[in-house]
């Protein structure tokens, strides 16, 4: 097969998104330096929605381009999740950049779109090289975005830390991959999967080392303990919509490649690495939840909450009974996580911007200032903590049932006990919203801009809807062919 007879139509959504991103980039040049450009935001959202439709149309059939780029159920679902997530992030950003004239608008949106492109490439690649290119496209865009408030010390510090530590993580991944390539002579995940059982028998140490290096590097991208330490600083320093991008889109895409690499590339040696993930999941849930208790700033709290959530998502990776069930659990929780986290961040952005303060106390009296937001936030938090009748409850329950079926009782018990701890800190925010009076110098009512309220409403409907009618998603997932 050559480049001429490959089925390029499979890549239609990616190609279209790239062109649209370049158009937006160019439009920005043409419209001057310092103007407020809300149309770029709207255009970006439209581009993302158009791409989502294309994904739904062109990725329905499975297919591949020379073992490099694959389209399958897994790629399609994650792409839709990512695209809608970024659309939400942009809706929040439009409010944010309106208030911050030091954030230069055009580059901001096009960087977000390029990052999205990287994420789409990541979840669709069946080859270590394509995968790495996608990862770096996402990461480098994200480094820039983290430091987007150029004149703000914290933002710059966040970007520097993110670049240095993120670069180290990429180095780890590459180092691990180079061992794999050296031993197998191929970068194709399917071929690797065939070769690894014998290699594990012959070179157990080198193979284990290679896997460990990759886990360390990927662990950084999805912020699991002990590779999570960048998260609080970067989350705090980055502009809040970018924080939501990092915690939602970047993390889900990161999970995408973890699943792709390990369930396609190393599936044949599942027993060799499953236990490592079980341990990581356990310490991630414990450490993430414990540290979150003592946080006093909402963005740092959400960073550790996100660490803990990554721990829950790792549980099914470590407790596979059947691949279909595991994928169904993780994807369901990913959807729930997208909805509740994005909704929460929309409100956090609004509140922290309005009060110009990111301490937990910025939420005080929110119920009196904006009852709808306070109730919505409560539901997102309850969903994150895992209370019925939310999508978060059902997702956790599903994972929990899976862990028990795999007879990993200890992991299931850790999961459920750490989730009680999480009530402790989520209640901290609820207490501020309902049980404190508004601060005297805040406005008595908080006006909610339309894009933010749209994100909140959609997330709210999804969070409750998928909690009540989880069947809609699980039935669909049960009939999906996950991997090509």
């Amino acid at each position: 097969m050559s480049a001429y007879n490959a089925n390029w139509s499979l890549m239609t959504p990616e190609i279209v998104l790239m062109i649209l991103a370049l158009v937006i980039f160019t439009l920005d040049f043409m419209t001057g330096m310092s103007r407020n450009k809300p149309f770029l935001g709207r255009l970006s959202i439209l581009s993302l929605l158009a791409t989502t439709v294309l994904v739904a149309v062109f990725n329905r059939e499975t297919g591949q381009i020379g073992d490099m780029f694959v389209v399958d159920g897994f790629a399609m679902v994650l792409k839709i999740v990512i695209l809608l997530g970024v659309a939400g992030v942009i809706a929040i950003s439009m409010y944010y950049v309106d208030r911050h004239r030091d954030v230069y608008q055009g580059e901001y949106y096009s960087l977000l779109l390029f990052a999205t492109l990287g994420a789409m490439l990541m979840v669709s690649s069946a080859d270590l090289i394509t995968l790495f290119v996608g990862l770096e496209l996402l990461s480098i865009s994200a480094y820039c975005l983290a430091g987007f408030k150029k004149y703000n010390g914290k933002s710059t510090e966040a970007a520097i830390k993110y670049v240095v530590l993120g670069g180290t993580a990429s180095a780890f991944i590459l180092y691990g991959m180079s061992f794999v390539y050296g031993l197998t002579g191929t970068t194709s995940l399917v071929d690797i999967n065939e070769a690894v059982p014998t290699l594990f028998a012959d070179y157990p140490y080198i193979m284990t080392m290679a896997i460990m290096f990759m886990i360390a590097g990927f662990g950084f991208k999805i912020s699991v303990v002990p590779f999570h330490m960048w998260a609080p600083d970067v989350y705090e320093g980055a502009p809040t919509p970018v924080t939501s991008f990092l915690s939602v889109v970047s993390k889900i895409a990161g999970f995408g490649i973890v699943l792709r690499v390990f369930f396609v590339g190393f599936e044949s040696v599942y027993d060799e690495w499953a236990f490592i993930f079980a341990l990581l999941a356990a310490i991630t849930m414990i450490v993430g939840n414990m540290i979150a208790i003592v946080q006093r700033k909402v963005k740092r709290l959400m960073a550790f909450s996100g660490v803990a959530q990554a721990g829950y998502l790792l549980v099914p990776v470590a407790t596979m009974v059947s691949l279909d069930m595991t994928m169904s659990m993780i994807t369901f929780y990913a959807v729930a996580y997208l909805l509740m986290t994005l909704g929460a961040f929309a409100i956090i952005t609004l509140v922290t911007e309005d009060t110009e303060d990111d301490a937990l106390t910025s939420f005080s009296g929110l119920y009196q200032r904006a009852p709808y937001l306070a109730i919505a936030m409560t539901i997102f938090l309850l969903s994150l903590a895992g209370l019925p009748i939310t999508a978060g409850f059902f997702g956790k329950f599903y994972i929990f049932v899976g862990a028990i079926q795999a007879e990993m009782l200890w992991l299931a018990v850790i999961m459920i006990f750490t989730s009680i701890v999480s009530f402790f800190y989520y209640f901290g925010i609820m207490k501020q919203m309902f049980m404190r009076d508004p601060k005297p110098n805040d406005d008595q009512t908080l006006s909610v801009p339309k894009p933010v309220s749209a994100v909140v409403t959609i997330s709210l409907v999804g969070t409750i809807g998928f909690g009540l009618l989880a069947n809609v998603l699980t039935n669909y997932f049960n009939n999906l062919q996950w991997f090509f």
């Binding site: 329950f397 929990f400 028990i404 009680i420 701890v421």
Partner: protein
């Protein structure tokens, strides 16, 4: 009518939605929305009960979620047990709705209060109607959430806010057990339906150990919700909520959900002797433990709260000694007379201008006639005086414990009954007789507050008749129909006399000390100073939990956070230092001397080759 049982929880839900949308407009009229909804629910519940008495269990389910190969259903079910519960919940909720109209009318947020009450009633009724244990769990969590909202209703009181949080988090510990039990049950049977679980046990599909483990996990949920030892600590603090809430949630309905859960899963518990014994012992320990604390407390609501814990312990004790009907019968009678006592306490608190300390009351008998008489009826009922409701149900419990044959449990039951009579009448004599010791002259309240007291007062008298010998133990026949719960024990005339004498003994001692004052109040505490101090401090359980759980959790969090900060800042700073020093170091190397370059190159080359050899394994 029974097909429309689903409407019973829907009415309060509608009230909740209406008040959420129009509460601000309705303000005080919100009370009527709630009252109407609950009145409708009550009427439907009565109709459903009557239809169920003559008819059969009605189940309506639809498929909800597919879990691998098994399907989870949702719907509703009317069994004898939950038909009875529907009456208890709707009736108590209705009278509490009526009572709150005046009790809460000074509060600006009365519409919010009524909307929470509606949400709670919906959740509690949903819990009762649930046809499978997963659906029960969902409503189980919802009632917990409502309890949180209502306990923290006066959030501007710091005690209320922290009590709300404590209540929620403590019961969560039990809920974890319940969730683990549910999932283990699902893993063992592939279903969440009650019937499937019982069938699997009967067919011997689950190993004995597993049955015990699952039963105990489920029981842990009941321990949290029904405030059994050692998770009882939240209930006394929950008294920071408005008094009608205490009557509804923390006396009659939600806290009884744990007992109800054990009742619903009873065939499962019967399959494991170990589990039953543990249930019995936890119940017995809770009963006596809480009763001793109630002996010395001075807060009218807290005394009642400890009394509730103790009585819930009694119900567990009954269930643990194979007294299925006895436990659930006591659940029903207790709901009526304890709601009566709490509303009576609410009426008193309102009458004496929001004082709760019984040392500041006294002499209310002449000033608040209706409240006093109904309170006396409630106190007599809980003490177990013939022929009031408590007498019949308590006597059944004694019979069940006696038939079980464990003398230790029987002794605890008798001692606790004595204490119950004593502390209730200590409260009664101190608050209602003697001279008034407060500073605001108390007054009787009007109809909206006294009517519920009269209704509950009548029930506290007659509710016991439904399972009395002269009605042929009608309730027993109804509840045991169609399920295998074993033979139910009955006491004879002798046991009735013993239980009556114990109650009278307790009341007499209370009268001697607090009524007639022949013995000084300070005599016994002075005699047993250490014991008194222990009881005044509630056995130091709160302090113990703070030291054992709360502080270590926060401590570990802080320590981990410090390590985190140290490492991440360490890495970044180290990189900066290394880069800088390497930079300046390299600068020194670039001295322009060819020899030095050469040496560096060779050393570097050797290092690279050595590294390559090492990795190839030639040296290792």
């Amino acid at each position: 009518m029974i097909q429309n049982a689903w409407l019973i929880p829907v009415f309060p839900l509608i009230a909740f939605v209406v008040l959420l949308l129009f509460g601000r407009v309705l303000r005080e009229k919100a009370a009527y929305v709630g009252i109407t909804a609950l009145a409708l629910s009550f009427i439907f519940a009565v109709a459903v009960l009557f239809e169920r008495i003559g008819g059969e269990t009605y189940t309506f389910v639809v498929d909800w979620i597919t879990f691998g190969e098994s399907t989870v259903t949702m719907g509703y079910e009317v069994t004898p047990l939950n038909a009875m519960m529907l009456i208890v919940v709707t009736l108590v909720s209705l009278v509490v709705h009526i009572f709150s109209r005046d009790y809460m009318h000074e509060d600006d947020r009365i519409h919010v209060f009524y909307s929470y009450l509606g949400l709670f009633s919906f959740s509690m009724l949903g819990l009762v109607l649930a046809p499978n244990i997963l659906q029960l769990f969902i409503f189980w969590e919802l009632v917990g959430l409502c309890s949180f909202l209502l306990v923290g209703f006066w959030y501007y009181k710091p005690e209320a806010a922290s009590a709300a949080k404590k209540a929620f988090l403590t019961t969560r510990v039990g809920d974890v057990g319940l969730l683990i039990g549910i999932v283990l049950l699902f893993n063992a049977t592939g279903s969440f339906e009650y019937a499937d679980a019982f069938a699997a046990v009967e067919a011997g599909l689950i190993s004995d150990t597993m049955v015990t483990v699952i039963a105990l996990c489920i029981f842990l949920g009941a321990v949290g919700k029904s405030a059994q030892f050692p998770l009882h600590v939240w209930l006394p603090d929950a008294m920071e909520g408005p008094t009608p809430v205490s009557a509804l949630i923390h006396a009659a309905t939600m806290v009884a959900a744990g007992v109800y859960l054990v009742g619903v899963m009873y065939p499962f518990f019967l399959a494991s002797d170990t589990a039953l014994t543990i249930v019995a012992y936890v119940g017995a320990i809770t009963a006596i433990f809480a009763a001793t604390i109630a002996l010395v407390n001075h807060d009218i609501k807290r005394i009642l709260a400890y009394s509730t814990i103790s009585q819930l312990g009694f119900m567990m004790l009954a269930l643990g000694t194979a007294g299925y009907v006895a436990g659930l019968f006591h659940l029903m009678t207790h709901a009526f007379f304890k709601a009566l006592l709490f509303l009576g306490a609410g009426s008193v608190i309102y009458g004496v201008h929001h004082r709760q300390d019984i040392r500041e009351m006294g002499g209310l008998w002449r000033r608040m006639k209706v409240t006093s008489v109904t309170f006396l009826i409630g106190a007599l009922a809980i003490a177990g005086i013939f022929p009031l409701a408590g007498f019949w149900s308590k006597e059944e419990i004694f019979a069940s414990v006696l038939a079980n044959g464990d003398p230790f449990l029987f002794a605890i039951a008798l001692i606790t009954a004595f204490m119950t009579a004593f502390y209730m009448f200590r409260l009664f004599f101190k608050a209602f007789t003697g001279e008034f010791r407060g500073d605001h002259e108390p007054h009787e309240n009007n109809g909206f507050m006294t009517l519920p007291l009269i209704v509950l007062g009548i029930l506290a008298v007659v509710a016991g008749f439904v399972n009395a010998p002269f009605t042929g133990h009608a309730l027993e026949g109804f509840l045991t129909e169609g399920i295998a719960v074993g033979e139910q024990a009955h006491g004879g005339f002798g046991l009735a006399v013993v239980s009556l004498l114990i109650a009278i003994g307790g009341i007499f001692l209370a009268w001697v000390i607090y009524g007639k004052r022949s013995i000084s109040e300070d005599f016994l505490p002075g005699k047993f100073r250490a014991a008194h101090r222990l009881l005044m401090n509630k056995y130091f359980m709160d302090e113990l939990y703070t030291v054992v759980f709360v502080r270590p959790c926060v401590g570990i969090g802080k320590a981990l956070y410090a390590i985190d900060r140290f490492i991440v800042d360490g890495i970044v700073n180290l990189l900066a230092v290394v880069t800088r020093s390497v930079g300046s170091g390299l600068g020194k190397r670039q001295t322009g001397q060819f020899q030095t370059y050469g040496v560096v190159t060779i050393i570097g080359g050797i290092a690279v080759v050595a590294l390559a050899f090492m990795l190839r394994g030639y040296f290792g």
